[in-house]
């Protein structure tokens, strides 16, 4: 036996995404955002997209390109305060924004990834965020029903990958990547380095390979772009 090889060209991997797809995108601010895959999605021009991402990045960075190009119809997010364009598109009705508490977003993705349907929580009870959501009584307490969130695709940034798709993230670039890599039908990963099978210690893998469908090697595409905010190349991995 040997573990299957999932390395793939970026163009081919992103070309599988159709118009209207729902896409999970890793990252919290700059760290963990798959800037290169996003640029390819911009180049290929798929439209009518629903994006799920913690934040809307900043002007001129990451998913802001897809907002500017009009490819995004809907954004499920926790915070867009650093992107004036996103706020403006939302206020003018050109972008539907669904806000989610940050930990609730993580749990909805976990539920989606883990094949659960919904969960009951007291988070948000009595606030605007719970309005319009179904409530259930449990042990005399009124709880909000939060539904599982899955997507057609996930675009994930990793520090290291092996050909089977075992992944490692660095520092706070991990954030939503592990839950998102579990909650999509097709998971496309860009990795700063692709190492050999067995080069990642089995105890030290953050996302196991079976969750991953395609591994794109960023090193093969040249130096990292400025979007990654390369201020110091300290190696945590």
């Amino acid at each position: 036996m040997s573990l299957p090889d999932k390395r793939q060209g970026m163009e081919e991997a992103i070309a599988r995404i159709p118009n209207g797809a729902r896409i999970l995108i890793s990252g919290f601010g700059v760290p963990g955002t798959p800037f290169t895959l996003i640029q390819e999605l911009l180049r290929q021009g798929q439209t009518g997209l629903t994006l799920v991402k913690n934040d809307a990045n900043e002007t001129g960075l990451g998913i802001d390109h897809l907002l500017a190009s009009g490819q995004v119809e809907r954004l499920i997010t926790t915070h867009i305060g650093l992107n004036p364009r996103a706020i403006e598109l939302m206020n003018s009705g050109k972008l539907t924004v669904e806000f989610c508490g940050q930990g609730m977003l993580a749990e909805r993705l976990h539920a989606g990834g883990a094949g659960l349907k919904a969960f009951l929580t007291d988070i948000g009870v009595g606030t605007l965020l719970a309005q319009g959501k179904p409530h259930h009584e449990l042990d005399g307490q009124s709880l909000v029903l939060e539904t599982a969130l899955r997507a057609d695709f996930a675009l994930i940034h990793a520090a290291k990958a092996d050909p089977f798709g075992n992944l490692r993230y660095t520092a706070t670039a991990r954030n939503f990547a592990p839950v998102m890599a579990m909650a999509a039908d097709q998971v496309i990963v860009e990795a700063e380095a692709v190492v050999g099978l067995g080069d990642l210690a089995a105890d030290d893998i953050h996302t196991p390979g079976p969750f991953v469908d395609a591994v794109v090697d960023l090193a093969a595409l040249g130096p990292l772009s400025a979007e990654y905010g390369v201020v110091r190349r300290e190696q945590h991995v």
């Binding site: 036996m1 573990l3 299957p4 090889d5 883990a114 075992n166 050999g196 089995a202």
Partner: protein, 222 residues
């Protein structure tokens, strides 16, 4: 399909089950006969074995003197790992199963109904070890193959119109591979696909407590 390498019925059924494993799959092999499928996969075959106790890239069973005390499969056997193996916790392990990342599971059975219902965890009042991870494997693997003797130790059929024992999961089994036959579960019930060498159609029908649809084409042998 490769020629059977043995006429021993048990070896033959395991070898036949090994053919269910397709390149690139993530596969969970249940305790007992299913685990032995590993020995029938070609060298270097591209597949990822999943052990629900928290391991992908499971390798071969090891003797205790070769073993790592912290490295077992879900059946408790010491195992080796392939290059690219990963360890993870039980939460992640079953998320993999229920989230749709398990392409195939091969499980044992006490009973299988013609609807695909599976009973493999409890014989009331006699043997109640608990359900372990069986429910989730049976209910959520993309394909569920049962590997089991056609009849139990007392010669009673295991393939039934309806299960009598408590169910592990409803309508989950896709195919049953036994020492006598390969039987698919279809919307219309059991459909015979293949016969083991030396087994007649009459033998299988007598050992099956439910209707058995026959294929239009000649029956394959394994």
């Amino acid at each position: 399909m490769s020629e059977p390498t043995s006429f021993d019925p048990k070896t033959r059924m395991i070898a036949r089950a090994a053919q269910e494993v397709q390149p690139g799959m993530v596969v969970n092999l249940g305790i007992g006969l299913p685990t032995q499928i590993v020995g029938h996969l070609p060298a270097g075959f591209p597949v990822c074995l999943h052990s629900e106790n928290g391991l992908t890239g499971t390798g071969l069973v090891l003797a205790p003197d070769q073993a790592d005390r912290n490295l077992i499969d879900a059946g408790g056997a010491y195992v080796s790992t392939l290059p690219g193996a990963a360890f993870f916790d039980s939460l992640t392990s079953f998320a993999m199963v229920r989230g749709g990342r398990l392409d195939l599971t091969v499980l044992g059975a006490f009973e299988v109904a013609q609807t695909g219902d599976l009973a493999n965890w409890q014989i009331p009042g006699r043997f109640t070890p608990g359900v372990g991870g069986g429910i989730e494997l049976a209910q959520k693997a993309r394909r569920v193959v049962v590997l089991s003797t056609h009849c139990d130790r007392r010669g009673q059929p295991k393939l039934l119109r309806a299960c009598k024992l408590p169910l592990t999961a409803e309508r989950c089994v896709d195919r049953i591979i036994t020492d006598m036959a390969v039987v698919d579960v279809t919307p219309a019930g059991f459909a015979l696909r293949e016969l083991a060498e030396g087994v007649s159609l009459e033998d299988v029908m007598a050992a099956t407590d439910a209707p058995l649809a026959l294929p239009d084409a000649p029956l394959l042998r394994f």
